[in-house]
Homo-oligomer: 198 residues x 2
DNA sequence: ACCTGAACACCGTTCAAGT
DNA sequence: ACCTGAACACCGTTCAAGT
């Protein structure tokens, strides 16, 4: 776990952002850092460990909100940061829902969420549950947007099926999914308020 | 798209449920159905198509609620079905957040969600957004539970970090994460009620 | 015309052979 | 003692060679 480890993990993210997660091979990452393939194995035990490290580095790129800001603004900031992160590394995002949060950078993010809910006045007995409720929505949403899962591959097929996947929203100005995320945050804010200790 | 296609896709799910998604190779699936590897390519164009088909077959296993039931019961039923699905096919679940819902079995599930929200009285202008809000939470939650992302790989590491990932819940009887999902559904029910047309 | 299996360019990881 | 690259057992897909 020398500094070479982080160099390798960052190279993994570089490859993933450029060519997709499926292009993240030990050979490709080694080439990216200028090592021989087998030299990687002296800094990490397996590709599994590389992916776990990438999850940490990914969350490490989040620009976390200032703890002195009001909690709604902090929630909004972290949500928009996650959305932007997904657009930078679309194919890596699903790992955030399948790997346990053990890396320090991951724990850091969960702590910010706890702080938000505490400041909102959520009862401690509900705090961890509500955090998982909010976080799984945010991650699920950002993963879906990043991978364009809300769109049909073939618009004509969808038209035939007549399922209005994306309702027209005349008030939306620039970024359709960012606008929708902000609407969701209003709903989630109400949900959080309903969970305050009485 | 003869019936052989579905046979192959079901074999893919069988392999994935038994040995994990990473074990789903064209060779392994071919062996499962008793075909030669290259014979698969006369029924589907690529492994990509196999995975898309598996998403459809996965959602096809959902036992959908009766449309005549009250909407809260329908929402609960579909949520618990998704949780159970994740436990049967943990490694396949993330595909539900990265592939567009074009297969008929996928469209069917989205239609049920629309029906639930319509019966709840959600304004049409908010219907598609709220459906995505609920669905991304349910999928994110079920993917996390299925892949044990809520637990730390090493409990000792987590203790050192002193992040209470799983708060003790004395009232929870059998299935900890199922109980939590039911609590979340109460919160989401309130969220849905708040989105009703005025 | 149809099917198949060898082959190509990969992959993660092991380990013997080199220095 | 340390590093490396050949090798092993895979992978998705192509395509020429067979019938």
């Amino acid at each position: 776990m020398g500094s070479r480890f982080f160099e390798i993990v960052r190279a993994g993210l570089t490859v993933a952002g450029r060519d997709g997660l499926s292009a993240v091979s030990m050979r490709a990452v080694a080439a990216e850092v200028g090592f021989t393939t087998m030299a990687l194995y002296r800094h990490l035990p397996s590709k599994e460990a590389l992916l776990d490290g990438m999850v940490g580095a990914l969350l490490g790129e989040l620009d976390l909100p200032d703890a002195t800001d009001p909690w709604p603004g902090r929630l909004r900031k972290i949500a928009l940061e996650l959305l932007a992160l997904g657009r930078r590394y679309p194919t890596v995002m699903p790992l955030l829902l399948t790997r346990p949060y053990v890396a320090p950078e991951a724990v850091r993010v969960v702590r910010v969420m706890y702080g938000i809910l505490e400041d909102a006045g959520v009862a401690e007995a509900e705090l961890y549950r509500v955090e998982r409720l909010i976080s799984t929505h945010l991650l699920g949403y950002c993963v879906s947007v990043a991978n364009q899962a809300f769109w049909a591959a073939d618009p004509d097929t969808l038209a035939v099926e007549s399922v209005p996947v994306a309702a027209p929203d005349p008030s939306a100005t620039g970024d359709r999914w960012r606008d929708e995320l902000e609407r969701n945050l209003v709903s989630l804010g109400q949900l959080i308020m309903a969970e305050r200790r009485s």
